[in-house]
Amino acid sequence: MLRNALRKDLLLNARHLWGIVPWFLWVAYAMTEPEAGRITAVGAAFIGSLMATTIGAREDKLRTTATLASLPVSRGTLVEARYLVAYIVGAATYLIVVMAAGLPWSVQRAAELCELKTLLLTLTLASAAIAVLMPVVIRFGLLGVLVFLGVFQLLGVGLMVAFEFFGSRSSVGVFSAIERGIAALHAGLEQPVVILETLAIVGLAIWLSFRLSVFLAKRRDL
């Protein structure tokens, strides 16, 4: 049944996932920039996962949620398929960037993009996006995504304003700190202990997110 649900999501959303294609024109260009390889690969997987996570929101918009939930498949399996699709699309977009490194004008090395620490960082960031957004999509659909992104945006603006006017540090410093944190995690992912800790945290976050999504999906009236 999971295979059927997975196939359903991929077939139903294939057309929407083509929306990523124009972004890859930029990927092709980014291959000419010496420092852009890793961030492009990580960003591609992150955005791909994020787009696939919003499949549920599109189903709400097209009013197909009730129809699909009327098929003989458990809601738990439908949720499971959504998580898998998000990871598959994230992996596929990452792979495309790796393949783009082979373009004639590319200055990137595919082997560098396939380093374990970069793969793990991508997995961590994509998993964080999926883990946070999926329960919101499952419970609130399109409206939930819009509200979530809106609140996130407002939170960012609010933080910037607060730091500018009341903080001892500039908000630019805060965002730099986030960037440094990601870079530090990337560097640390060469050590076995950090790798194990990161995998454990990612696994726990995704498991909790999945259980919450199934719980919410089963209680949602369609």
Partner: protein, 286 residues
């Protein structure tokens, strides 16, 4: 008789609307019409049967199973048509069927193809480009193609032309003939049910007003028409609802013998009621 569908004391509350103590059952081999005005709760009941809405109280059983806890097994036995059939609009009929097909254990592809031909559903047109009636036909073809034990149809005749509507009703009657399958047919177009329903369940404002066989319904309720000057208190009390015009009154009664006795030899008639009459007057009397 072994009920294929059973609702016992089902309740559900929404803001401004509630289903209260909804109980009725449908034996194997019969057609049940779920009638009621718009907003009565028919679609909520249909959704509960499909496990899309969870009841707050009471029980829903399909072939003895709870649709919420045995969702896969229950939905495998149900063929459904939602009030507004919604599939992905950018897909053609063949693609939609290829998505739906693997989920059903008893999917019958030759039957599906025969239904598509018979219903004249265009296979090369985007689902969004189909008319409302053709979308319903498409949903019906999908519902009928997997030998469901229970067909749950929510307003399936809305948007259909009279010719197809009649042939659909005949098909549904034939569907239950072997005594194994049943049909739950939710509609506010009661004329459809007068032809083919074995059981009628009338729901209004979230309550079941009555649920019985078609014969019991038509044996119970009668229309009374007469001169408005005949309408005294005792006659009014015997009527479940009454309309009074300048030249005549029309009412519904469940006690035709008493009315006939009181109005014998006077300017009044007692005649068979239609489901429309029953829905109208019983609804008004509440």
């Amino acid at each position: 008789m072994d009920p294929i569908l059973e609702l016992r004391g089902v309740t559900k509350h929404y803001q401004g609307f509630a289903l209260r103590d909804v109980s009725f059952s449908l034996p194997r081999g019969y057609v049940c019409g779920l009638i009621g005005p718009n907003g009565a709760g028919k679609t909520t009941i249909v959704k509960m049967i499909l496990g899309l809405v969870r009841p707050e109280g009471g029980e829903v059983r399909v072939c003895g199973d709870d649709p919420v806890y045995a969702e896969r097994a229950v939905k495998d036995r149900i063929g459904f048509v939602h009030e507004v059939p919604a599939y992905y609009g950018h897909l053609r009929m063949g693609s939609i069927a290829s998505i739906v097909r693997p989920f059903y254990r008893r999917w019958d592809q030759p039957l599906f193809e025969a239904l598509v031909r018979e219903f004249e559903i265009p296979t090369n047109t985007w689902f969004d480009s189909l008319s409302r009636g053709t979308r319903t036909k498409a949903a019906l073809a999908l519902a009928l193609a997997h030998h469901a034990d229970l067909l749950v149809l929510d307003e399936p005749t809305a948007g259909l032309d009279p010719v197809f509507r009649r042939s659909l009703l005949e098909r549904l009657s034939a569907y239950v003939e072997d005594g194994h399958a049943s049909v739950l047919f939710s509609t506010h177009l009661t004329s459809d049910l007068e032809r083919m329903a074995d059981y009628i369940t009338f729901i209004r404002d979230g309550r079941v007003m009555f649920s019985s066989t078609r014969e019991q319904v038509f044996d119970r309720w009668f229309i009374v028409k007469g001169d408005p000057r005949l309408l005294d208190d005792s006659i009014r009390q015997a009527l479940a609802g009454v309309d009074v015009g300048p030249h005549a009154f029309t009412g519904l009664t469940s006690d035709p013998a008493a009315i006939r006795r009181r109005l014998a030899g006077r300017d009044a008639v007692v005649e068979a009621a239609t489901l429309d009459d029953i829905m109208y007057y019983v609804g008004r009397s509440c």
